[in-house]
């Protein structure tokens, strides 16, 4: 029974040192049921190390991580029942076909009889592998292998999915399909922790993100929250119904507006404030009798946020 008030994934002051190298240095965050949590960072940032700790494949030097309330250090057996881990490598067997591969992992997770058969059918249907059931695993394309690995990860219906670079090496179509599958999984109440280099992929699928660099957590929250926290100034675009001069005169008196660029009736400016302040600005312009036909605040992309938060130190 999953308690939705309790985070399904919880990292508490997690540290992992390899000699002098601090691969993971004091990382804490939480992921709740139904959330897709993006884990972003450059190569060697510590994403895979922390994911391996969560998957009970490694031990933290200090701190602890919990899956559905169970410590990965003290109760790895209970964690494993609730967790599906998809590493950034395939891990396939010789002389085994797709169905046998899934059957082996279903058995290994303790599924018996009809429950196992149902689970394999569901996974093959979900991942679109049903037509390849008797095909040898080693003969599958990269995209199909990736699907198979996702299938293996979810064959025992875990509450938590940890996906390390699931989209790497996939063509655009396969990426879109993978993204859809992940969204569907989150809708069923699973907590999904996903790392990727392809930030546009994450931006579309993630509810929250964590940015990590050289083992340290730089920011956690939604893209908007991090964006707002990292930079208070927003770029705002306005289009007036008539001439833009009255608007320019009105704006000239304001101290929270800078870098005004005029292009006919289109005015672009930097506004020192968040969404609340922008709404107030629009209200005041309209109250001043200036007719506005377009008001848009440029949303920062995940790339913008990532580059800003990591201060361009990306390797």
């Amino acid at each position: 029974m999953i308690d939705t008030r309790r985070p399904l994934i919880e990292l508490k002051r997690l540290h992992r040192f390899f000699g002098e190298t601090r691969a993971v240095d004091d990382i804490s965050f939480e992921v709740y049921a139904g959330e897709v949590f993006g884990y972003i960072g450059p190569n060697g940032a510590g994403k895979t190390t922390s994911m391996r700790i969560l998957a009970t494949l490694d031990e933290p030097t200090y701190g602890d991580a919990f899956v559905d309330g169970f410590s990965v250090v003290d109760d790895p057996d209970r964690v494993r029942r609730r967790l599906g881990f998809m590493p950034d490598y395939f891990g396939t067997y010789e002389n085994v076909n797709v169905e046998e591969y899934l059957d082996f992992f279903a058995r290994s997770y303790g599924l018996r009889g009809n429950e196992r058969l149902r689970s394999i059918d569901y996974v093959m249907d979900f991942t679109g592998l049903d037509v390849l059931a008797s095909k040898p695993v080693n003969g599958l394309s990269k995209g199909m292998k990736q699907r198979l690995c996702l299938g293996r990860t979810m064959v025992h219906d875990p509450a938590v999915l940890i996906l390390d670079e699931p989209a790497s090496g996939l063509d655009p179509r396969a990426r879109i399909e993978l993204r859809e599958m992940i969204s569907k999984l989150a809708q069923t109440g699973k907590a999904v922790l996903i790392s990727s280099h392809i930030l546009t992929e994450l931006a579309e699928v993630c509810d929250k993100i964590a940015i990590i660099e050289t083992g340290r957590l730089l920011a956690v929250g939604t893209v908007d929250e991090i964006s707002a926290r990292s930079e208070a100034v927003s770029r705002v675009r306005l289009r007036t119904l008539g001439a833009s001069q009255p608007l320019l005169d009105w704006l000239a008196a304001r101290s929270d507006v800078t870098d005004i660029i005029v292009d006919g009736s289109l005015v672009t400016l930097n506004h020192d404030g968040g969404p609340q302040q922008q709404a107030e600005l629009l209200k005041q312009i309209v109250e001043a009798g200036i007719e506005i036909v377009e008001f848009a605040s440029k949303t920062k992309s995940l790339e913008d946020v990532f580059l800003h938060v990591t201060e361009g130190r990306v390797q």
């Binding site: 009970t56 003290d74 067997y93 290994s108």
Partner: protein, 551 residues
């Protein structure tokens, strides 16, 4: 008409009954497969499709056929008059030795090594399978292969019996020997597979394993030949069967111990990996003590008994010293998971604390077991010497037991202290701890030896001086060879036990620290999960008039 209908109905009934029986058998088989170890199922499927397995099976089969035709062809008409079953049997076992003693164990090793190479071991280890199930699955796969190879050779073995000159018991014992050897080698190969985690250690292990297997393979030929030729003469000798029973006891307990050690290698770090091993060590010790205890009944001669007891005690001493070097290298801190299952009651804490992981408890555990063997040896010798220790060789044996015990206590205790001191400044793994013990022993043997060689002439090379007191090998060897006075036994019997007691007292401090651990209660979340997984049975009505709802 009625009769035809009756016949038809009874046929339908019997067909339905047969179908029902088959259905039940099928269901039972399906449920059996369902409960079979997943690794066994997967590896059997893989093996049936693998080229290597098919090739080896066909080569074995072909070799048997060719050998059969060749021998019968060469013998010609003599096959009817001359008993040639023994020669045929040797040829068949030589063929069988190839898959059983080489292919199967090496496949077991490769099976684990490939998991590491192909990155599937991580995926396997995060499933619900326990480390013991993983090892058993791999071993089960080896058993299936053994059975398949046996099925290829068994008709030929039966044929050799028809050719006369060989007893059924010889065939059965040889088959058992080959199967058990193959199984034992596979177990050792799996252990080697768990020790080799990175590529270069895998390559090294692979080479060592192949050399070892080749030695066993070639050694099996003279053993088989000798047994086929003269083995039957031993069947009426009770000593032969006692020897078989003793060997089986050793085989089974060692097999279980290696299985547990292999499982421990791949278990997660917070798991209690030491206690199951210590339990099996005690089982092996109990079997060993049992055999030592029956020595006076089997071999009551006062001349031979001290020698047999001495050999048994030396074996016990070597065993517990080796085990002790590993146990005293264990990490001194207990994980929170281990602390959850510590003994709680007073009796439990007194008797079972020594099974807890830790170098201090490990030291005491090894010493306690060694003391048990020594005490039993002394008791037997006392019985032989009628309490006076005056029997032939009895005095030497008593000195050997006391001095041997002291040496083991001193070396294990000093090694443990050194490891503890080194751990204050750097990380000392179990392997490094074991190595430290080995270096300590080598230094204590080698340094006095070098000093002796540098200061003495070779003509006086056999003389013993107290300089060699730190050299247990020389001291105990001289004691056995030349008697108590040749090694200043009257001095050693005071100095060494006293030193052992001092070392033991120094070690008691850290042992006491390990005994401070108390049982930790289950975290709330774990207790909730336990209640969900294993709910307590709802109590039934206390009397026939009480309904379950009232309860």
């Amino acid at each position: 008409m009625t009769s035809a209908l009756d016949t038809s109905a009874s046929q339908t009934d019997s067909q339905g009954l047969a179908a029902g029986v088959w259905q039940r058998i099928q269901d039972w088989l399906l449920s059996l497969v369902d409960r079979t170890n997943p690794i066994l199922v997967k590896e059997t499927r893989q093996a049936l499709k693998s080229r290597q397995f098919v090739l080896t099976f066909l080569v074995t089969l072909l070799a048997c056929w060719i050998a059969s035709f060749a021998v019968v062809g060469i013998a010609g008409m003599d096959v009817f008059y001359v008993a040639s079953g023994d020669r045929m049997l040797f040829v068949y076992f030589a063929i069988l030795a190839f898959p059983l003693l080489l292919i199967v164990p090496y496949s077991a090793f490769r099976s684990l090594a490939t998991e590491q190479e192909e990155n599937t071991f991580d995926l396997l280890s995060i499933t619900s399978l326990t480390s013991r199930q993983i090892v058993s699955g791999k071993l089960g796969s080896a058993v299936v292969q053994i059975l398949v190879y046996l099925s290829a050779v068994s008709p030929c073995v039966a044929f050799s019996f028809l050719l006369r000159g060989v007893e059924v018991l010889t065939i059965v014992l040889l088959l058992s020997f080959y199967v058990l050897t193959s199984l034992g080698l596979s177990m050792l190969a799996l252990m080697a597979g768990t020790l080799a985690r990175v590529r270069y250690t895998q390559a090294l292990m692979s080479v060592l394993l192949v050399i070892g297997l080749a030695i066993v393979f070639f050694a099996s030929f003279p053993v088989t030949e000798e047994f086929i030729r003269d083995g039957y003469t031993s069947f009426r000798d009770s000593d032969f069967w006692i020897g078989c029973a003793a060997t089986m006891t050793f085989y089974v307990t060692t097999f279980l111990l290696v299985h547990a050690a292999t499982s421990a290698q791949i278990a997660f770090p917070s798991e209690n990996r030491s206690t199951p091993l210590r339990r099996l060590m005690v089982l092996q010790q109990a079997c060993f003590l049992g055999w030592v205890a029956v020595i006076p009944i089997l071999e009551p001669s006062p001349q031979v008994l001290p020698i047999v007891v001495t050999i048994a005690v030396i074996m016990g001493g070597l065993y517990w010293y080796t085990i002790g070097t590993i146990l005293t290298s264990e990490w001194p801190h207990l994980s929170r998971r281990v602390q959850r299952s510590l003994p709680q009651s007073t009796a439990g804490r007194v008797l079972l604390t020594w099974f807890n992981p830790g170098p201090g408890t490990g030291f005491m555990f090894a010493i306690a077991n060694l003391t048990m063997i020594g005490s039993l040896g002394l008791a037997i010798l006392a019985w032989v010497g009628a309490g006076t220790f005056k029997g032939a060789g009895v005095e030497q044996a008593v000195y050997l037991i006391v001095l041997g015990w002291s040496y083991v206590v001193i070396f294990l205790g000093v090694g443990r202290i050194l490891i503890a001191l080194m751990r204050r400044v750097l990380f000392v793994s179990m392997a490094a701890g074991f190595l430290l013990h080995a270096i300590l022993l080598l230094l204590c043997c080698g340094v006095p030896q070098i000093i002796f060689l540098m200061t003495s002439s070779f003509s006086a090379g056999s003389e013993y001086s107290l300089l060699q007191i730190t050299n247990p090998v020389w001291t105990l060897f001289r004691l056995m060879e030349s008697g108590v006075f040749s090694v200043d036994g009257h001095i050693l019997i005071i100095v060494l036990p006293a030193a052992a007691l001092v070392v033991m007292l120094i070690n008691l401090r850290s042992v006491a620290a390990e005994l401070q651990y108390q049982r930790r209660s289950l975290p709330v979340r774990v207790a909730e999960d336990e209640a969900e997984l294993h709910p307590l049975p709802i109590p039934g009505p206390a009397n026939p008039w009480e309904s379950p709802e009232e309860k």
